[in-house]
Amino acid sequence: MNDETKKKINERYERELNKGERFWPDSIFKDLVVSLGIFILLIVLATFVGISPEAKADPSDTSYIPRPEWYFLFLFKFLALYGQIPLLGKIEWIATVAIPGIAIGVLTLLPFIDKSPNRYYGKRVLPISIMAIMVTGIVLLTLLSEVPTVSEDGSKLLGILQAIAGLAIPVITMILLFLMSFVFKQTTTRVMVWTTSLAAVSMILVSGTVLALHPRPVVEETEVAVTLVDQIFAGQDLYSIHCTECHGDDGSVAEIKGVEGLEGEKITPINSHDVLYTITDSAMYEVIAYGRPNAGMTPFGKAYGGELTKSEIDYIVTYIRYMWDDRFEIPAEALKPLFPPLAKGEVPSYEVHIQPIVKRYCISCHRAGKENNNYLMASYEEILTTGDNVANNIIAGDENSSLLQVIQEHEIMNPEKTDEVLIGVMPPNRALKPNIVDVFIRWIMNGMPQTAVEAAELFVAPTATP
């Protein structure tokens, strides 16, 4: 740019300045209005949209599907599409380093590449068209980022369509635009604008097709317990399934009973001060995750072959800490009773009363894969119909039902071999409290109603004594 051009530019600017406005108050006013708008928008978003909860980082959970922040999703999709290109697609640094590097390089050095003094849009059709295609491409790649390049059934159709919309059309169009600018110099602005528009529209249409054809993936919502009370409840549920069979529903078991291979094994009760005062949360986490193989405790953490994620073990530790460590005050909300207490004459139902009791005290052993005489208790049907000894287990109205006998500390002997125990006392570690035994008795004596509605119909209110 020579001195004369520079002088012309400066004079032109002087003229614009003189017929313009003032920074204060005109520009600042507009700035303040926009800033206020942004401020309000931020508060609205923070209050009404919020942030979706995520689980704690779990380095051992390699099944998590990584995704970058949204403003890098276009690059993420670009890498996937680039990798589909035969031969060239194998050289990954071209897509991760070279192409983005060149793009940023061109953008940075733009004033030295686009050196002409022209500023009017009409005289800058080439750069504006190229930028339009690139921005359209970036936006579309971002929207397409959730669509896999190869479908589950191996079909490559969606991948090819995406490559067309995201790579082929933009590249071809840009080559065309360059040719029109530098080789076929007679090409009018109109033609170039039409080319760009058609390219952009076709990119949008193909992308739209892909999004329409793409089957909605089943989003697995992982439960994240956010508040302390939620974490305690989550931990309680997990504990009752995985831990109760050896440690008891209240952590007090000192000698394991009723567990295959560990019968009679002596352990320190985990609700004791010995354990709770000396084992920190992280140590407790490691014990649960790694297990105590020498003492018979299998690993529970995913990192060591178990099935619990880091967050799940954290919830169990939180539950143990707040429930049994008397130095910590458990929030009142977390101490809600297992089931609503029964009124005189009220009949319990499976839905409201039996199910939570079974979940807390029985399910740890009486689920698939454990030694339990094949008696499973995960559902109403299972409780009534499964088990090696199902014939005498639950009989409506019969107080000699095996289930009622064993929870009242009477073992059931084998009628054919009178010194063999068929069903031991349940639960093996510690007897149920009388009010819980009472719930079972009432339930079976009144015909095992499943729903609260059915149970309510059986309710005989006590008549007022005269």
Binding site: P59, D61, T62, I65, P66, F76, A80, K90, T149, Y304
Partner: protein
């Protein structure tokens, strides 16, 4: 003082400031850079024989997933990282095992065995590997890495030799 061999005060101060400034810059700069990149210059970890599971649990033809954890010291923290892979038993012989690393050779996401697709799929950029770990589709430049040093231990476990670093 206008003698030809004498420097003016201005020039003397310019030069001295330049030299001293440069020296201070180096004295601060080099240790600072070293401070920042120090962890990148360390080699760490230990080689080890690690159990990946019982040989009898591995069925012929079905990829058997395994994982193990290695603890490495990074700075002041004992970081445990998990690694995983798939062991495919080819025959009755304990030597007939193909043990693949489940790290995708493209950008190190974890691949998962997919029964329907009959291959390992990578969820990051849609790579697909055959049961033998060869690249069928997608950006990976080479097949899945193989743990070729392994042995059958006395108690029936398959152990792989894990190289550190």
């Amino acid at each position: 003082m206008s003698g030809s061999n004498e420097i003016s005060r201005r020039d003397f101060i310019k030069v001295t400031t330049g030299i001293v400034g440069g020296l201070i810059g180096v004295a601060i700069g080099l240790p600072s850079i070293s401070y920042l990149i120090d962890p990148a210059l360390r080699e760490g970890g230990k080689d080890a024989w690690l159990s990946i599971g019982k040989f009898e649990d591995m069925q012929i033809g079905t990829p058997y997933p395994f994982s193990f954890t290695q603890v490495r010291v990074n700075g002041w923290e004992r970081t445990s990282s998990s690694f995983g892979g798939y062991a495919i038993r080819k025959s009755d012989d304990s030597k007939g095992l193909l043990i693949l690393n489940s790290r995708c050779t493209h950008l190190a996401c974890t691949v998962n065995w997919n029964e329907e697709a009959d291959g390992f799929l990578c969820p990051c950029h849609d790579a697909k590997f055959s049961k033998d770990g060869k690249v069928l589709d997608g950006p990976p430049p080479r097949p899945l890495d193989v743990y070729d040093e392994f042995r059958l231990s006395e108690d029936g476990h398959i152990e792989i030799f894990f190289k550190a670093g």
